[in-house]
Symmetry: C2
């Protein structure tokens, strides 16, 4: 798997990986950027949520759960000083739907975090990952 990241101007870069989709990255003005794109460090959190979200929605659909919405909130805590790095991450799943079974949600999350999610498995070697979930039942 590979990604090519090219400088555009100032602190703006575009990264294009195997899938062919480009991602604009930039730094905030406080460190000399123009805030035209994602901060690289926040992309780690976004990637984690997307990766695990794809697992969870796939598994819930296989389990015939009628999910109408899925939102994932990932927060990351960083260590002070240098070298800076993420020390803790929390991932929260908000599953909305009709007659959603809690056991199915728990099982889907466990399968993703213990087995399938490559991003979570990689980040879990570096940071302590905790998780939680909410189920919103629709009428």
């Amino acid at each position: 798997m590979k990604s090519k990241i090219k400088l555009v101007e100032n602190m703006q870069f575009v990264g294009t990986a195997d899938s062919g989709h480009g991602v604009i990255m930039d730094a905030p003005p406080s460190v000399g950027g123009n805030n035209t794109g994602s901060k690289p460090s926040e992309l780690l959190l976004t990637a984690f949520g997307g990766c695990s979200g794809m697992d969870v929605i796939s598994i819930l659909r296989k389990k015939k759960q009628e999910v109408t919405d899925l939102e994932i909130n990932v927060t990351g805590k960083t260590a002070e000083g240098h070298p800076t790095l993420f020390t803790d991450m929390h991932i929260e799943y908000v599953v909305t739907g009709r007659a959603i079974e809690e056991d199915a949600v728990k099982r889907a999350i466990d399968l993703s975090l213990d087995k399938y999610c490559m991003v979570g498995n990689t980040l879990g070697k570096a940071a302590k990952i905790t998780h939680s979930y909410k189920i919103v039942q629709e009428g």
Copy 2:
């Protein structure tokens, strides 16, 4: 730092982090997606290249190096089986410019990888990271 990742449809998610920029993520058709956006796992490589690229260009500019182009190639090797994760990453820097000093390039890369780059510091806890560079001198 946080990111909110929302299901759009099928396997398509949009992640929006603190900076306010949205990133579309999707899976390839082979696993039920429509390939409308970045794969989450490749976003890790992209984030790494962007993070370190911002460090390197900042440091080279401070060192008065006349950089006209900077390209970063990040490759990742994954372990077979479950749980899958990145075991090795290689980051290559291609610095193009006029009278670029090799020592300045080496020092900028070392500072980024040993100290400043939060994404690299985090991923370096999970995977073995190696690096290389090429300098392209312009006439």
